[in-house]
Structure formats: C-alpha cells, structure tokens
Amino acid sequence: MKALNTIIKDHWGGIVALLSNYIQDLDLAEDAMQDALESALIHWQKSGIPNHPQAWLFTTAKHKALDKIRRAQNFANKQQQYQLLLDLNLKPETQEQDYSIPDERLRLIFTCCHPALDPSVAVALTLRLLGGLSTEEIAKSFLLKTKTMAQRIVRGKKKIKFAGIPYKIPEKEDFSQRLDVVLTVLYLIFNEGYAASGGDKPIRQGLCDEAIRLTQILFKLCPQQAEVKGLLALMLLHDSRKKSRYNHKGEFVPMEQQDRKLWNKKQIEQGIQLTQSALKQKQLGSYQLQAAISAIHAEAKDHKSTNWLEVVLIYDKLLSIKSSDVIRLNRLAALSQIKPVQELIEPVNQLESSLKKYQPFYAVKADFLNKIGEVKKAKFYYQKAIDLCENEGLKGFLIDKLQKL
C-alpha cells in the first residue's frame, strides 16, 4: 500500500491548506483530513484507487469537516464556517473531469513557518500539516516520544489560533524576510536528516526526502525566488552523495575518500542547473553560494582537481553577506588545500573562543596540527572532537583517525 500512502501525502498539504483557508481553523482542517485518510485506507483497499484521488480526498475531508462542525457543542457560533464549507465546491476543469483545487499551500507554509513560532515548533507543524507525516513519524525522525511531539504540535496550533497568526502570504515589503524564515525551517529539516544527531542511523533519509519534496513545492509556488532555487540546489547536491558518505559499516567517509561513481548524477545535474539559474538572477544569497561551492565539488573529477581557489573565493563572497565563524572555518579548511598549513594555524586559533562547542572546529584544528607534525597536540584535539560528536558514524571515523596517528 506504499502507492496509497504516497498519493495521500502528495495531496495532504493542498487539502489541509484549502480547508483551513476557508474555515480559518487548522485543527479542524487537520482532523477532517485525518478522517478522510482513514476512510481512504478502507475504501481504496477494497475498491481500488479512484480516478481522481485528490477530488475524492477533498470531498471526503469536506464532509468530515461539515460533520464535525454540525456535531460541535457550539454549532450556533459556527454557522458561518459551515456555510463557507458548503459553498466550497470543486469544478471539473477539463472534459476528462480532471478536478483541480486552488493551491493555497503557500499561505499554509507561511503560517507554519511564522517567525513568532519557535523553529522546533515550525518544523513539526510543517511536516505534519504540509508534509502529511503522522505525529509518530515526526517523533521518530527527531528521536522524541510521540507524546512530546504531539504536545509540540498542539502548542503550535494553539499559538496560531490564540495569538492571531494569519493564514496569509506576507505583504511585498515583508516577503523576503519571511521567506528566509521558511527556508531556514526547510533547511533545518534537511540537516536533521543529513547530519543526524543521535540514533543508530547516520543519515535519516526520510527527513532529507521530505525536505526536498517540500522545497520542490515551494519552488513550484515561487519559481522566481533565487534563494528558493539555491536551497533546493544545495539539498540536491548534498543528497547526491548519500551513498558514498558512509561505508557499509555505517562509518563516515570524508569527501576526499568518497567513491564519486556513487554520486547521483541526475541530482547533480539538477543541482548545478538550479544553481546557475539562481546566480544569473543577481540576487545573491547564502543558499545559492553554498550550492555553488557544493557544485564545484560535484564537478571535480577527484578531490585533488577541485578548483579550491574558486571555493575560497565563494567563501569570501559568502562572508561578505553573512558573517559567521563556521563559514570562516570552512574557508580555512578549503584554503589549506592550496596554502601552507603552517600559515593557517593562527587564523584557526582565533576562531576557538566562538566555536569551542563545535565539533568540526576541533577536527579541523587537529587535522592542521597533524599536517605540521604536532602529533601530540593533534591527538588532544581529535579527542575533543570525539567528545563533542553526536553522530555515531562520524565518531567512529574520528576515533579511527586518532588511533592511526
């Protein structure tokens, strides 16, 4: 029944968005959709998937919502909601009776990723209401108890309702700032999958796939936004290396040792094309630039022939729009491929105070010290990196490095 689940997930966000826009009630929209899903599982298994599953799901969810309103204790207060729903009808668009519903998902994306919501709440709401993931699935992806995740989702919906967070696409003057928040939430989802913290799997592919799917939806809804293209490109380029980043034992493999034949060419091609198209728009942003760096790696025949100078130059550009010591660290790591490491020790040391809880900092510092023959110090910093590491596969890799010194 995998096909069935995929169909439901593909249509979930659209129907929840449309219903909640009409009845201005996320809870009710979500509950109605959940009931529609349960009906679909029963009916479709018996009599097959209908010709127009979206129309089927929408009509069923609408009836479920009407039912719920009718049975509500305060029905008298909900007459208007009821009437709005009754009036909401699908019209056949073509002669083949292909139903289409107005796409209200962008509103819902901006509601779920509102800056007044804590990022962890926004992540949960986006996966539940737009992605159609069950609360159990989301909890599992974030290694939390279902109850904890359920409470988080309830808290988010309550805040939306009682604080008056609107179902609205932001005004032009706020749009790009608000879009940034949406992109951050989507990137958080991707990263939690790509660099999984804790748990027994180094990559939680389900989250990566979901983040890519949601970003593709956002790209479809705002095709002109260069940073949306940039983020989608970045995710595709990162994801293209998933088969080579960990070996069969689940241990991390650094990029220089990865088998580039395992990289997904189709994703690389898409990622590069999106990056180029975004950069052409001349609305530079950090996702596009990070994608551009990832694209340079993807294009290189092997690690040695990577265009490191270009990588360093893009890091400079990135730093000019976003000052961050993590970016400075990555820049130094790239620079160490073309400059004597001895000269980079001092600049790395300068980052220590702000990155003292950041595992990659110690891994880079240890690596530099090892390269200049300071093995004893290198050992000390590898140990620090190991102590801070939350990803088991990566931890194994660092321990291995330490032991080989």
């Binding site: 007044a116 009682f162 967070i165 609107p166």
Partner: protein, 115 residues
C-alpha cells in the same frame, strides 16, 4: 483582536532624562501615538513611573504581604504599554516594532483573552 504591547527596558539603557536624545525619543513616542490613532488601532497606552515606585503584594491565608519593589528582580523592567485593536499578529507586531524603546529594550506582544 486586541493585543497588549508590554515595553521592557533596563533602567540605564537608552537615552537618559535631560539629554537631547531623550527629548527626541519623547518626540518619537508622540508621533507613533498619533500614527496609531490615525490608523485606528489605538485602544490605550501609558508610561509607568519608575520601578522604584513599585509595590508588590500577595495574599496568603487572608493575610496581605507587602514588598517594596517589583515582582521580579530582573534587569529589564516593565516601563509602559500600548493596547491595540489589530486584524492579526502580523499587524500587531508591525505596530509594536515602531515603539522607540524596542531599539534598546524589548516589547512583548500578547493577545488579550476574549470571552
């Protein structure tokens, strides 16, 4: 919806009384209040006297306990508020962001419970 914007700031933060910057800030408060009125969102608003004038009471077992000072000994103290009638949180946040003290203090926006 009704929203309250609670204005918090540390007492020594921002322009100090008697300086040109302070007068300018008072001027800014005047013009935003006019703007709120013109936009029809203002239900009320006041500045509070200094936190040194605060008295906190609690009643336990019918007995009133009185303490000289504010409820919470935090660095940032409640200094004033605005009460808005807005369409939604976005609008309330937009108006709250115009409050001059937000530049050096903080403004907490809360919806008012309606029965």
């Amino acid at each position: 919806m009704k929203y309250i914007a609670l204005i918090y700031a540390a007492e020594n933060a921002g322009p100090q009384y008697g300086t040109d910057e302070f007068d300018q800030m008072i001027g800014e408060y005047g013009s935003i209040t006019e703007r709120y009125e013109k936009d029809g969102v203002l239900l009320g608003g006041d500045a509070l006297q200094d936190v040194n004038t605060a008295t906190t009471i609690s009643v336990r077992n019918g007995k009133t306990e009185t303490i000289d000072g504010p409820f919470a000994e935090t660095k940032e103290q409640l200094g004033g508020y605005y009460l808005f009638e807005c369409e939604n949180l976005d609008q309330a946040l937009k108006y709250a962001a115009m409050i001059p003290s937000a530049k050096y203090g903080r403004v907490e926006v809360r919806p008012i419970m309606e029965y």
